[in-house]
Symmetry: C2
Subunit: 649 residues, 2 copies
Amino acid sequence: MSSNSTVNDVRTGRPADPSRGVLRPLGIGEVTITGGFLGRLQQRNHDVSLSHIEYWLEHEGWLGNFDAAVAGRLPEARRGREFSDTEVYKLLEALAWEYGRTLDPEINDRFERIAARVVAAQEPDGYLNTNFGRPGQAARYSDLEWGHELYSFGHLIQAGVARARTEGEDDFVRAVCRAADHVCDMFGQEGIQSVCGHPEIEPALVELYRVTGERRYLEQARLFVERRGHQTLADINYGRSYFQDDVPVREAEVLRGHAVRATYLSAGATDVAVETDDEDLLHALRRQWDVTIARRTYITGGMGSRHQDEGFSEDFVLPADRAYSETCAGVGSIMFSWRLLLASGDARYADLIERTLYNVIATSPSQDGKRFFYVNTLHLRELGAEPDAERAVGRAESTLRAPWFGVSCCPTNLARTFASLDGYVASVDTTGVQLHQFIPAVVRTQLPDGRTVALKVKTDYPRDGRIVVRNGGESVGAWTLSVRVPNWANGAGGVTVDGSAGSVDSDGYVRIYRDFQPGDTVDVTFPMEPRFTVADPRVDAVRGCVAVERGPEVFCLESVDTPGNVHVDLVRVDDSVAPREEDDAVVVSVRPLMLPNSELAWPYAGRRAGADGDGPDDGEAHEVALRPYHAWGNRGPTTMRIWLPTDGT
Amino acid sequence: MSSNSTVNDVRTGRPADPSRGVLRPLGIGEVTITGGFLGRLQQRNHDVSLSHIEYWLEHEGWLGNFDAAVAGRLPEARRGREFSDTEVYKLLEALAWEYGRTLDPEINDRFERIAARVVAAQEPDGYLNTNFGRPGQAARYSDLEWGHELYSFGHLIQAGVARARTEGEDDFVRAVCRAADHVCDMFGQEGIQSVCGHPEIEPALVELYRVTGERRYLEQARLFVERRGHQTLADINYGRSYFQDDVPVREAEVLRGHAVRATYLSAGATDVAVETDDEDLLHALRRQWDVTIARRTYITGGMGSRHQDEGFSEDFVLPADRAYSETCAGVGSIMFSWRLLLASGDARYADLIERTLYNVIATSPSQDGKRFFYVNTLHLRELGAEPDAERAVGRAESTLRAPWFGVSCCPTNLARTFASLDGYVASVDTTGVQLHQFIPAVVRTQLPDGRTVALKVKTDYPRDGRIVVRNGGESVGAWTLSVRVPNWANGAGGVTVDGSAGSVDSDGYVRIYRDFQPGDTVDVTFPMEPRFTVADPRVDAVRGCVAVERGPEVFCLESVDTPGNVHVDLVRVDDSVAPREEDDAVVVSVRPLMLPNSELAWPYAGRRAGADGDGPDDGEAHEVALRPYHAWGNRGPTTMRIWLPTDGT
């Protein structure tokens, strides 16, 4: 530990723990997910993915780098990219949350075994990185643009925070504080006047401040946030917007540059704004979120339109077929949105979290939990090949899920998200409890006035729109249960509470104020009819197309679901026929797309002014089944698309 | 010279000179462009751009690298990227053609001065490259994937070929032959069994064979073409398709990977196919051209959809707003198409050349000839900034034309294309003369049977659709004048010859068979009404949009042409009103795009089945002027788009 700090909130188990804000988060000790769609993904993470990740970290030698450091075999023996240490740290963070959630001693053993190997490599002054500073390696902090050293410290610290919040102070947590102290020594007011090319240290230091009460960590995070945007990093081909060093955080209009960097930075800046009571900064971040959601976000919640720099593009540049939508940007977006939700109580942030959970986070892993999408495209035109199960692949090259990547940030990011998912379900404020995500769960917590409330949430969401919340505690006087009404339901109408039309507050919640008696239930139902969705007409890429959604899930067409395995680009939807549910699919009516007469002609043809487009009666109509996007690509090579051209009527 | 070869076709001045094929090209000694739109660009190249390029080559030190090599100051003094030598070679090639075209002694002086500096740096064994092989530099041929050594030799040889065809054998041409001999020594049957990561040596060696008759050069080019596609280059992040080493040339289905690499290779492979009478290879290349044109080419003729790898994307992935369409890929496409035109006599190749000349080649340079687009996007959403006139910029970052680039292949590629443009105007065969491009020009040549024909072409094309061809020679008996009928005119109908409806042959030419008397004229008129054009419905990026074309020119909307400088993304075209000509612009009727009510809402909204789209009567109609795409961006920062949404009727 830092000499004057102690771990002061052992086992709250909150993924983020702001000291102020409209809502107070609940920790994984207060909420237990008991099943459901996302619960099953969480369990698969426990049963399969955590071991899969550890196997690959050993296999690729990234864990071995720490042993090599201890044995003096670096740099010769080093394996992996400059930031490979962070995958070990993110696995540690995932194991910490998972142990906190399950108290599974085998998980704890794994944490301690790996943590010991990491701590052994720490240098006496707190520095820890297997890629820098030894003879034959680049000097410490000699490449802030690309070296990822502070990014690595950030993930190390996040692992320590998770450990402190689920188990308490131990050797690993103390090592993490030494590392944080080292960072403050090096980059403080009088230190190196720059920032890291990849944000992450910012939220990490604020969280460590929240764990320890050590203000130095908060002050350092504040310094990093304020320094960014002043061009202290060198210019690069992608421009300084790539690492958000183009414009100061509080002056920026919108998220830009590398999407993971942008969302991590925004999460950390929100933490700083909340802890330093900086309303101006918080306002700027909320505004940036608004603009980013309105103009730079895919229907899936995915962020990042460009392969070149894994980055945001300009407003409304959201191509489906070159969508990047990196899994890690989904994680970063949830981090950012969750912090704004706690700060503001505005359900729109929880809406985006839901959308991202069901359509990015749930999409990345394969059904067996051993393969992952790094990139979550919305449209695949060429049949992909199944990647080799025993070989790591490049990041965005595989068209189906791969077991591991040369840059393998996504599997570990998913692991820590699933392991801490309980913490995103609910919150409390002075009025009562807010239910943000609809997952079967048990909630037991105290309201700020000390009253203990206990709830049990039953639902088959998103398969079904009914959420039943049962009071599992005693009567403690009146309080308010607030249930988020998803923005998609609001648009569709038909929300009912206990069988009557629900009244939705302006901030997006339906509120039930009552002196709940033991066994009392509240029964909220959202309308789950499948629906057509169209995009803002400025999104050129999907003009003239509809998407099909049902509840929070986006659906897609896969060629494996078409008669004769027809390419998904060769059909158009008859949007005069409403989509209808059939088993676990949604069925729409389609016709063949009208193609030019010649297959190999110049593809741009004259059109007389006023000439009709393709008529709706061309070609024979038939029905095809769309399935949830998160399930796509689990049945071998297929073409796929979310946005379907309409027949032009 | 190679000991057993001599320059055998001095001063034919043909940019490519196949020994067989359906058509025989005419050299720049047989065709003289005398003005017109493209003639003015050629003159500006002579008056401004050639000096501009030489200034920057000195300024950036890329010319100085050769002096530094002679003085033993490498590698310390070296400036620029690994391939910077080639910009010097391409300037030499441009100067050679320009001297051949104009016989301007000042141009010849510049050629000789620069050539002497280059030749001085050649090593005794013929090797010549300022970036490899000296103490402290990487070893020769140690990085075939990225070193660009054979690519550099290729451009050196092309400069030598241009010199030999316009002036004859000299020290430079002899140095070039020594370099080619060195390449054959190193990479022959028993030599290094691989290829260069960037094709270019292939067409260069065939052309040098054509100049010298030295079969060894042809054989080496054939070897390079046959070796490619057998994975002799290392795998890279982009995949081996990036440098076309994924599939053998004769087995490929379509152009893929880096677009400049793909088109250069295809040009060289066509040369090999023609000279070795390899019908199978030629057929494969023609098929690849067909597929590439039908599925992977922009309406401008531009190629390359991806910034990430400057490459082709999958079929029909042609986003307007992330179009790469590199200027050099336009040059490569013309090289490839010209060779297929000569081999086959099919006008479709000349059609693509025309489209590329007017919409890529003419677009890149600024109106003052001192700035260039490296990337030719079809849609600019954000107002760009004018790049600094005294600073080289990255390649694709500038939104307006820049004076020079860190990778500055495009300005020199334009220069050699403009300087040799006379060679692409016409050809001959046993029937007579074919006129492919409509540029005011004088043609004087011999038919294969020895008869001399002389023609004068008068036209204000593309401003006007009338082409008048006057016989400037004596009566020599009957022969056929074939005038290409552009594919766009064919679609529109209305081609007239001497006032009557023209009859177009299946290969795309209107033919006039006559014993032309002195002063006889043929008067061909193409219909120049502006027209709406729509794309194949598989091009998702421009669904629901129209482009406006007039003759071979694609038009675009710039915000500087809208009342109040409205963003080009905020209008839709009323496509029931035909576009009409007004001065040098085309006028269309537009209405405001229907936007969501809230500026910062989630941009994906529900749509009832069967609900109407935006009605045509929403918003007030007004007229806006579209101007030729090649002229865009010459009036300061502006947004721009070619494809305009229609009003959905």
